[in-house]
Amino acid sequence: MSKKTLIPIGPYHPLQEEPELFKLYCDGEIVKDIKWETGYNHRGIEKLSESKSYDQVFFLVERICGICSTSHPFAFANAVEEIANIEVTDRAKYIRSVIGELERIHSHLLWVGLAGHFLGYNTVFMWAWKYREPVLDLFEMISGNRNSYAMFKIGGVRRDIENSKISVIRQVLGEVKKKTDLLTGAVMDDPVIHARTKGVGILTKQDIIDYAAVGPTARASGVEIDVRKDDPYAAYPLVDWKVITAQAGDVFAKAEVRLLEMYQSISIIEQCLNGLLKEKEGEIAVKVKEIPEGIGNGRAEAPRGEVFHFVQSDGSNSPARHKIRAPSYVNIATFKKSCIGQTIADATISLAAVDPCYCCTERMAVAYDATSGDKIMNANELINKSLERTDELKKTIKSNL
């Protein structure tokens, strides 16, 4: 057996929001095997939820994810409302969908920026994050918070979007649409981005089915699943939109799906705003007396895929059991398929392609030789490998022009 080098990415690394450790076993430049370790920051939220009242659980689950903070309350509300057979008002449905889609836009922009950064396109990174800001400002205007908006409750939403704010939202969306055109053009037309992402980190349809991957990761491999269409909730059945898919299953296809989804989100929000104008202001919640005994399966389409919440109620005011499955739980496992056989330089973007819920907590990623234990590579060197690859390709492509 040939000697392999172990390259750990994590536990703290800019690729990931949560601390987690990917062990890349490499033979030369090629990744031969990958292992995953987690639990560095296990917060026991499922257990904690059993000691909170239903109203408090919303604030708890909102803190599972810092980027898509509304998708968990969304799925939890769907689960509890299923147990108690609650039908929320149309105005609340529209508001819920507006929040969900605004979140998808800012989450996808964040991904486009980070993907650009890993490929050596820091301008894309700066632009995407700059254009994300106005969306966060909208959240601040609507809810008072740029993130963790605390908009959801059983039976509706906690705050109204007054009709007077609708024109501001429309204006910002108009700007976001223009910037999305710009970013889409930059990604779709750049020969170097094509060279770096096409044919890289491919997931086949069979891989998706085997690992039960969801969201843009699945849709980029031609698996047309989207909870908003399959199991419609909130205002999604009331508006007209389509599920975006691509066939190639590579990093480029995942970028394409996310970019095109932003247009769908903008369209959904615009239709929801029209819907809001027809509904009476203030009718945002129905009264809820008690949650009866029973079970509820709630799901919502987060930016990264299906979020699933299973709630068992024993008739008391807190859940007897609350199971949460975030989309990254199933998407991360596909790394075994997308990274093995790739070069280290491509592994970085393949890992990032499923959008494993990352943020800018850069701490360290140090590589050790598996046998001698010598430190051979740090985080910047790892990213530099990816940047060098882009530079090389730029030169080759330019000389061929």
Binding site: H42, D231, P232, I295, K323, V330
Partner: protein
Amino acid sequence: MNRDLIIENFKEKFNSDILETVVKNQKRIVITINSDSIVKVAEYLFKSAGFRFIIATALHTKRGFEIHYHFSLDGSGLILNIHVMLENENPQIESLSNMFNASNWIEREMHELFGIDFLNHPNQEKLISEGNWAEGVYPMRKEMK
């Protein structure tokens, strides 16, 4: 195949394995089956009927250990919960991870947090608390407050 037909076929095929069926509405069905039949039931749902495995939820209740295997029939909105009851002492059930990779991590997690044994699991090592949690202590059991 439409949703109703699939459920009818399922009931007919596994008539002797089904202990209870609860239809909450057209999109939410819970079928309690004999725990010995989990592999053949899951195989039918995954390979023949086109269901996607969402996740599984383990519960520790007064009745003992229970697992809900959540399957989704995408396109129809149906979530089919396959429910099994396991004995309180030495809970164990056959693993599904040799059929599809999607159940690999969640079975490891249930093993770690509830102490349920998944027979023939390819690699039943700890998922969450690697190396820093006491052996034989299961934090999601009901005696852990």
